[in-house]
Symmetry: C2
Subunit: 340 residues, 2 copies
DNA sequence: ATTGGCACTCACAGGTCAGGAGTGCCAGAC
DNA sequence: GTCTGGCACTCCTGACCTGTGAGTGCCAAT
């Protein structure tokens, strides 16, 4: 009975604090929550919760604030991801409906997520390495200039321009295009480089060298780590909503958001699966983000997590709401990617 | 003699205020600038400058702050765009050297500009409408699914996937590809739609309908207004450097920065030519940006301004420095685009 | 036209003080 | 045992006051 109520008190503290952004005291707590006990009892429970490191007081004789550990317990004991309201679902549907291409889907998702959660939204582009080749195109631009275009199953387009030592016959190019496609279409990008390594041998010795050069660029394109490093970010203005001590941590936060590499590492660490993951305050392995929490999940067609999306906000954010929104948007994008 | 010195006083006030972010008084002014007159004289000049609306005092008996009008006069009387130091030039060169593609050039430029000026950097992608067609590719993805790829002279790649009512013969596709290219390569995008309008007639009547459909998508792609709406932004963390009243205007500023459409309109208004333009405070036709100034210029290969880049910061920014940096980066990108 | 001098104005920092929300603890009730 | 009412205590907050100093405007003298 006792431990159960303490959990209830913690939940109430978290909810009130998220709402008001002010330390919550025992008296106002019993006034606003039907706990069925007096403030004195709550005070005792609070003392115990503080003992356990779940809440803290900014100064003696002030109300309590949840610690990172407190938020963690709160999140772990959340009953279930609450479903969105009908209106919200409709908003998502209409918002993502008219998307033209992958870029558009990503950007719309970012805006949507930022609007739904009032936090900073982060959406990673589907990683190349885990998607498959849909088509390869080889085009002569001018005599010695060649364009290589790679289209992936997720609709992403990579291009490379390369300079050749001497002009190459159009027939050779056409042949190469055909061979590249038969060898790689449908294959995972990770395997594609391997698949084409033998191709130069199939050409006339006089062409082998230049073909090898083209193949090398192709292999480099599919393996390019840099191509994985793409994210879209939106809703940064939402960081400014507060007039409190969180403002102090905004600058490092904005800086971290511009370090896409760091962000991607973070997102990559967080989830491969399609369940919603939460990182709270110091749990985030990055000192610029100690005052922030991240709610993220993987997404991708057919439940395979090709990439990660999520929101970032102050530790005192609305976790249930954010988790629901992140989850819903991820499902919608996944469906769109599966259809496309 | 008199008017000349007043201008000098204004310049000194602007410089000091930009440096210290504090209202500057007559005494400290004569201490730090070799004006050759006493503080009392400066006081008289200040009174005159205030009369003209060039400076203002936050409260009675405080120092003076330049008004937007004051900054304007200051900028207009700037001798010349001061050249960058050798170190800065080298930094630009090495920073932009290894760029792989257009995307990379843009992103590097944004970072560079943000670093050089310590402001928010904005770089618009070269507009499609003013660039020319380099290559058109038509690819069958599956039986009834077609991919259209458009490559522009600036290296930008646009793609469209379209669903056909029935499979189309490969020969027709090849024929169409050839005709599209001969008709449009080298042409301005704005003219391309016009150029291909007659193509369907050249095909067998049984194919004309489907060809017309493809042409329609192509025409829509080259004319797409939306494609012009692309900017890269960086250095938003630089907005947080100040611990003063400017902080109040940061939220609307961040919001405006996310409204790419608005930004683009702004940049578009600012310059078609390759000279550096400055908009100060209320001169910016957007109430969210009244506390901000913009320094921008056009850029593009061979002096033709294909797009705009610039920086955005508080009205009390280092105009000479920002103008120099913006100018230098614009020239460098232009050169890179001309080479590519 | 410029300057030194002088009275005046305010923002700002520091100090004091009352009010109030919140706490911890204890003794008594269920 | 658990809960509750009561009470003394803490200490943040906001209001109010005050002295200080930077800065101004104006005037008479050079």
């Amino acid at each position: 009975m006792l431990d159960d109520r303490r959990l209830e008190v913690l939940r109430a503290i978290v909810e009130d604090y998220v709402l008001t952004h002010e330390p919550v005291g025992s008296k106002s707590l019993v006034e606003r929550h039907p706990l069925g006990v007096s403030s004195a009892t709550v005070r005792n429970d609070m003392a115990a919760l503080e003992e356990d490191g779940l809440i803290a007081q900014p100064h003696t004789s002030a109300g309590r604030i949840p610690t990172d550990k407190g938020y963690r317990l709160f999140v772990d004991n959340l009953p279930d991801i609450k479903p969105l309201t009908g209106a919200e679902k409709r908003a998502i549907a209409t918002f993502l409906q008219g998307a033209l291409d992958l870029d558009d889907v990503i950007h719309r998702s970012v805006r949507l997520l930022a609007q739904l959660t009032h936090q900073v939204a982060i959406v990673q582009y589907p990683t190349l390495s885990r998607s498959t080749v849909r088509h390869v195109e080889v085009v002569t631009l001018s005599g010695t200039r060649l364009l290589l275009v790679l289209i992936t199953s997720t609709g992403r387009v990579e291009q490379r321009v390369l300079e050749l030592p001497k002009p190459v016959d159009d027939e050779v190019i056409a042949d190469l295009r055909a061979r590249l496609n038969t060898a790689t279409v449908g294959q995972a990008l990770a395997d594609a480089a391997e698949r084409v390594s033998r191709l130069p041998e199939m050409f006339h010795p006089s062409d082998a060298a230049v073909v090898a050069q083209i193949i090398a660029v192709f292999a480099e394109a599919v393996a390019d780590e840099r191509s994985d490093e793409k994210v879209a970010i939106g809703g940064t203005a939402n960081l400014m909503r507060f007039g409190d001590e969180f403002d102090r941590s905004i600058k490092p936060l904005l800086e971290a958001l511009e370090e896409h590499v760091v962000l991607l590492k973070l997102l990559g660490d967080m989830t491969g699966s399609s369940t919603v993951t939460v990182r709270i305050g110091h749990e985030v392995p990055h000192e610029q983000l100690v005052a922030a929490s991240i709610v993220a999940t993987g997404y991708g067609p057919g439940g395979r997590a090709l990439a990660t999306l999520g929101v970032l906000g102050p530790t005192r954010m609305d976790y249930p709401g954010s988790m629901a929104a992140v989850n819903a948007v991820a499902r919608y994008i996944s469906k769109i990617l599966a259809d496309a």
